[in-house]
Symmetry: C2
Subunit: 148 residues, 2 copies
Amino acid sequence: MGEVSIPIGKLARSVGCKVQTIRYYEQIGLLPPPTRTAGAQRRYGEGHRQKLSFIRHARELGFPLPAVRELLALSDETDSDCAKADRIARRQLEAVNRRIAMLSSLRSELERMLRHRHGHRIRDCRVIATLADHTLCSQDHHAELAES
Amino acid sequence: MGEVSIPIGKLARSVGCKVQTIRYYEQIGLLPPPTRTAGAQRRYGEGHRQKLSFIRHARELGFPLPAVRELLALSDETDSDCAKADRIARRQLEAVNRRIAMLSSLRSELERMLRHRHGHRIRDCRVIATLADHTLCSQDHHAELAES
DNA sequence: CTAAAACCTATAGTGACTGGAGCTTCAAGC
DNA sequence: GCTTGAAGCTCCAGTCACTATAGGTTTTAG
């Protein structure tokens, strides 16, 4: 009853990913190597499951692996370098806010479409225009196109 | 003054992506082929810019290309097959809502961290636990782990 | 003590880009 | 109208984040 210790296949099913993906994350140093049985099979504990689940969700949300690595570091960095953790958290928070803003406008547009659809035949669907809007961008490639 | 007609480099800068990415999207049939000059260089109009901008944002939000293709189809499908467009919109709306929910909880956690950080030394960072939470998942790999 | 299911390593393949080589076209300045 | 450098072209190789396959070993249910 000391540890949970589940094999890789069960872990994979529990977070909804492939077995190879887990081994891949270990290989690139994103997930710490688990203990092994005498026959060299991987056995995972609850900590691993949480971390892996976090990684999968972050990836589904479109965070690139470097960002995931940073977010993971935030919780390991318990209080070693506060300023650094603070910077990371602040930057990721901004990224999260931008994503939420974009998703919100896409959501209203999809909702509008579904509402109007009931009244049949919706002329000019604005789904594209909604997300094409630049005002919520990370990069400032705005005013471009102005010159020449 | 009939059309806008910008070259590929300018288009790339205006949406913040690489020139090659645009050519790649054309190659896989995501972006319609533009007109060409006598010397075979691509010239784009405003419609292309909007579509491309949409694709980039959708990708940044983590939508896979097949989903992007569907969303693009929504606006082309002006009223040819309402029922189909309706299904797509409904399904994508659910995906959007799940994403927003996950991002919202990640946001509160990051905000909490930044608040507490001011009072120095935040013990146990819960960023991981926040996104590790399965209740917002698309897949139902929940109750797994129960058997055996 | 089997035998099927799950695991192992190693390597190759895929999707979505990204970069580079080698050549051509465009457009700004003379 | 000519030049010349930036930007464009095609084609192909490389990267990132997985995903699949081959060929063999370990676990575990019966």
